[in-house]
Symmetry: C2
Subunit: 361 residues, 2 copies
């Protein structure tokens, strides 16, 4: 088992990473110290792991709420069901909410914990690679509104995160690959050495080698933590974590949500950001080709859909990262060094968009 | 105009107290710096003051949401309507939510501001005496759940509070008096000199003398701020603010919510706390008689309803302030010096309950 401590002063917490730790009573009980526990999970993950987790909490007063699965259920109405369960279980301020599932479950359970009695403890047990490398650091919780994603939420840090790499065996392979796009992202923006390691260990990760997975998750969390620590409330440097996201959101929107997984769209988006960086003269053609190769070996799409450059630009402008009319982009000054910029040559962006999205209307 | 600065480091904010300042564009625009503003009010207060406040914000992009009036509407569903208005108005992170109304409006608008995009600015314009002396300090926001009051919420400090004493002219006199109970509370728990001042100025407050009201609000906010500053997240000393509340909740519950106003029940509750303190030997009979006289002059009830001592004790035990089976009480070591204690002689409490609630079943 590996441990990463997220240093946030009085709100510091450990991320524990290992295989089979979800059913290790010693590990679980060190993370969940409360006597009253509400486990929040969903109809997909619950049948797989709820019994194991409940077993590890034997002796405590444990209740569970099983939510529907899927991003479209990440709503205030569904969070209200978590509040109902907390009230029905007579949970007080000493209670602990445990999120067992992917990012959607974590976001909702964390938001409920943030608001119940103005804040109770919360422990994450992420069961997807994306949640293990992304949602477990940063303290963001919340739900969607018909008007936009994650519009309602709170910053609420967990007491602990328990990432059991064993749960990835039941994750659909396509979702594992989408999570891997985010792992590659951490290497690109902050650690060229980690990108080299990914390059050398990609196949081991894909066949769920426990040692490789543990290192990939650990290093991803460390990089995200270092970035977030400098910028807990998201103003400057934290935007680096959005590498590929502005392009990716355009792809997701143009193709209709659900056709591309978020990680898949971000993967192609990173390739486009790399391409803009190459046109500016920051990256070499070899750097971009290597990234394309990594995405392909990871089984991720490496080509953008033909939505047309002008449509893509329009969608990118609607993204909230636009500053004074200029689209703020995360670019790569070199591999392992991301920068947030609005003052790049617009030509470079337009050329990338034309080449990758096509010039058709 | 008077100004109290609530010192919370980077989250410090001013409370501005004066007459007619609600329509003073200079004051309002210094508090509300955002360009996009959502005013949240209710069907009672909106028709009285919304136009004036909107006028003072002339030139900004101002929208408003008018909620139903009353504690029973303080729900997550009604807060969802504030989110809808924020989204419909394309409000972003730079927007400001302005709460125009009493405590219910403030609690809901503040909670919506806490959660919208994980936190936007929020300015309070309290229009009741209770909200001016209570809700404007402490950062508590939230809504009720069918299972209990204020079970869902957040700590979210306002950017500024604008307390216009002129709005008290349209407040039902009974609500003014209920708010006065809280003003008396501040004197009792923390400032004997302020209690002397209230004693000397009670009639001026009741006839809405602007100078007297301004001082009463100012000093109340200062006292609450000093207590909250030591204990922002409510563990120890902040419990002093609950003087009279455990008794008061028993009265409210036994008589059915709505028959007694909260401030009325707290007023009698303070008298009972004073009576327990007298039996312990901390207060003299004269101190208790003086408090009774103050309540009577304020037009507040000075006698508890005959619900029976055993029923009262049972209800008090259900209150969340019970610690290890003993009812934690706020008592008065002397006038102007509240203490939170669980180790008082139980006889004293029981004698007070019998005398005031009657011994009938």
């Amino acid at each position: 088992m590996q441990k990463v401590v997220i240093d946030l002063g009085p709100r510091s917490y450990p991320i524990l990473i290992g295989t089979g730790i979800l059913q290790d009573a010693v590990v679980i009980r060190e993370a969940v110290t409360a006597r009253d526990v509400l486990i929040v999970t969903n109809v997909t993950v619950g049948p797989l792991y709820l019994e194991q987790l409940t077993g590890a909490l034997d002796g405590k007063r444990v209740r569970s709420t099983v939510l529907p699965d899927g991003e479209r259920h990440k709503t205030l109405d569904v969070v209200a069901r978590i509040f109902d369960a907390l009230v029905a279980g007579h949970m007080n301020r000493d209670a602990c909410v445990v999120a067992l599932g992917g990012g959607v479950v974590g976001d909702m359970a964390g938001f409920a914990a943030a608001c119940y009695q103005r804040g109770v403890d919360y422990v994450q047990v992420p069961t997807t690679l994306l949640a293990q490398v992304d949602s477990s650091v940063g303290g963001k919780t919340g739900v969607n509104h018909p008007g936009g994603k994650n519009l309602i939420g709170a910053f609420h840090q967990p007491r602990a995160v328990i990432s059991d790499t064993g749960t990835l065996a039941t994750l659909p392979p396509r979702e594992l690959r989408a999570g891997l796009a985010e792992v590659i992202k951490y290497g690109l923006i902050a650690d060229a050495g980690f990108l080299d390691w990914i390059d050398a260990n990609l196949e081991a990760i894909l066949r769920l080698d426990a040692t490789a997975l543990t290192h990939a998750i650990r290093r991803s969390c460390e990089i995200k933590a270092a970035i977030v620590a400098e910028d807990e409330r998201e103003h400057g440097r934290r935007a680096l974590l959005n590498l590929g996201h502005t392009f990716g959101h355009a792809i997701e929107t143009a193709t209709g949500y659900g056709h591309w997984l978020h990680g898949e769209a971000v993967g192609v988006g990173m390739l486009l950001a790399a391409d803009v960086s190459r046109r500016i003269g920051w990256l070499g053609a070899g750097d971009v080709a290597r990234l394309r190769g990594l995405l392909q070996r990871a089984g991720l799409p490496a080509n953008a859909p033909a939505i047309g450059a002008s449509r893509a630009l329009e969608l990118m402008r609607m993204d909230k990262k636009v500053l004074e009319g200029r689209i703020r982009l995360v670019l790569l000054q070199k591999t392992g060094e991301g920068v947030v910029r609005s003052d790049y040559p617009v030509d470079a962006l337009e050329a990338t968009l034309r080449e990758h999205f096509g010039s058709a209307a």
